[in-house]
């Protein structure tokens, strides 16, 4: 059989689309996970009154743990707080008459709850009488939130532009594909073959190379997993994190790739096919 270069070109376009978009999206998602992880390390501090009982403290801790968005709660008692300060600043402990620190809680939230609005609402909602005050590092929180939202905005723009460009590439190859087949399709029309039948023929011809591209991509993606597992060391992106996001982006881009193939075939056929 004659080698069909157009089909080969479509095969490679599909493979390069799936791999490029999967890897880029995978890197963005992995970096996003990393920033989210850093974001959820910002605690909210609850300082407690000095005259509380141990049972009231335990009850309060378990109540806080059950609140919406709370990931973990760390109790810092007054002795530990004093020891930490003395150690950190090399202070002579004898200068204190008593322990000036209260018992306190460090509350960590899931990433999407780690923002100033939620912290403000949380502060208002904590009405337990054993609470003396609530505080959080506003500057750090604001900065990390700003970095995160800018990063999401940047990645959305980049991904959108890349998808747009890829769709143009699909449209171009389909236009070439149709032009290459136009003579044959017109001949079939001279024998009374309906345009819809010819469209199905065209669609079949474009989907088949994409399907082979999908199979080839599966092989390549497994090779990529193996290579990254053995040699990959992108900063901040662990192998586990990379693999978990890569699988999702790969599936998404396979679906988008078939969608682009179908949509560009339909568009090209509608634009170019004539009632001859």
């Amino acid at each position: 059989m004659k080698r069909d270069n157009i089909k080969i070109a479509l095969f490679f376009i599909f493979v390069s689309f799936v791999l490029t978009m999967s890897v880029i999206m995978g890197v963005f998602l992995a970096m996003n996970s990393y920033v989210q992880q850093k974001k959820s390390n910002v605690p909210l501090y609850i300082f407690l009154k000095t005259d509380i009982t141990q049972s009231a403290l335990r009850d309060f801790v378990s109540t806080v743990k059950q609140l919406n968005g709370v990931k973990s709660v760390k109790l810092i008692n007054k002795k530990k707080a004093l020891d930490q300060m003395v150690k950190k600043f090399h202070i002579d402990p004898n200068i204190f008459v008593g322990n000036p620190f209260p018992d306190s809680l460090e509350v960590f939230f899931y990433s999407r709850y780690t923002n100033e609005n939620y912290f403000k609402r949380f502060k208002v909602d904590i009405t337990n009488p054993i609470v003396e005050s609530v505080a959080y590092p506003k500057d750090v929180l604001g900065e990390i939130e700003s970095i995160h939202s800018k990063f999401i905005y940047f990645s959305e723009i980049v991904i959108s532009v890349l998808y747009f460009v890829e769709f143009i590439v699909f449209l171009s190859i389909m236009t070439i594909f149709y032009s290459n087949r136009k003579f044959d399709y017109d001949t079939l029309k001279f024998f009374g073959i309906k345009r819809f039948t010819i469209f199905r023929l065209f669609l079949k011809e474009t989907i088949v190379p994409s399907f082979y591209g999908f199979l080839f991509s599966v092989v390549l993606i497994f090779a990529l997993y193996f290579a990254y597992g053995s040699y990959g060391k992108l900063p901040f992106i662990s192998i586990e994190l990379f693999k978990s996001v890569q699988r999702d982006t790969f599936i998404v881009n396979i679906i988008v790739g078939f969608g682009f193939t179908f949509l560009s075939s339909v568009l090209v056929f509608l634009i170019n096919d004539e009632k001859i």
Partner: protein
């Protein structure tokens, strides 16, 4: 079967025919003899609806082709055998698939005159692709595709153009056989007379 009534046709405002009238004699092999680039292919294209006349009527099987919508034209084409001047084999199909494409794609269970393979000596070419054939072999397949379904009317645009004398004789013999045994009507557009027994159509028109 086919009748042109005062048909006028022009290309880019240059008239080719003005008031062209003729009719095809049923159950005969008809030939239209015209010099190069004077509208032979255009006459055939107007019969199968690939070209529309500027005015006048083209009647095929009692249908006025100019009145048919596109679905009607496609339906009409399903009852015509067409032999193209430029061969037009489907490039990514084998010879066998080229010959069967019409039945396969229109889902019709048409009778294939397989004796044609012997008459044209093309049986050994069935599994080949068009690019593996010589131009004369491709031309034979083009002819076979036009006549293999025994459609009542076959339109042939310079069918002998790429053939050697041996093949020409085979093809003329085939046309005669199909005309005599199966009452197939032929309309052949040609530069020179093919056979003295073929009916030469008298074209009446004003020159553009």
């Amino acid at each position: 079967m086919v009748e042109f009534i005062e048909v006028t046709k022009s290309y880019k405002k240059r008239p080719i025919f003005v008031n062209l009238s003729f009719h095809v004699v049923p159950n005969r092999i008809n030939q239209i003899i015209l010099p190069q680039s004077t509208g032979k292919s255009t006459i055939l294209k107007m019969i199968y609806g690939a070209e529309k006349p500027d005015s006048g009527f083209v009647r095929v099987f009692d249908f006025n082709v100019t009145d048919l919508n596109y679905s009607g034209i496609l339906l009409l084409r399903r009852y015509l055998g067409i032999i193209f001047e430029d061969i037009r084999l489907i490039s990514n199909m084998t010879v066998k698939d080229n010959l069967k494409a019409i039945t396969k794609l229109t889902k019709r269970n048409l009778y294939l005159s397989e004796e044609i393979f012997d008459m044209l000596s093309i049986g050994h070419l069935l599994d080949k692709y068009p690019h593996e054939l010589s131009i004369s072999e491709q031309s034979l397949i083009n002819i076979a595709r036009g006549v293999i379904y025994n459609f009542p009317l076959v339109l042939a645009d310079e069918p002998l153009r790429y053939l050697s004398l041996d093949y020409k004789i085979k093809v003329i013999r085939l046309f005669r056989y199909l005309n005599e045994k199966k009452s197939i009507t032929f309309l052949i557009a040609t530069l020179n007379p093919i056979d003295e027994n073929f009916y030469t159509i008298d074209l009446r028109y004003e020159k553009g």
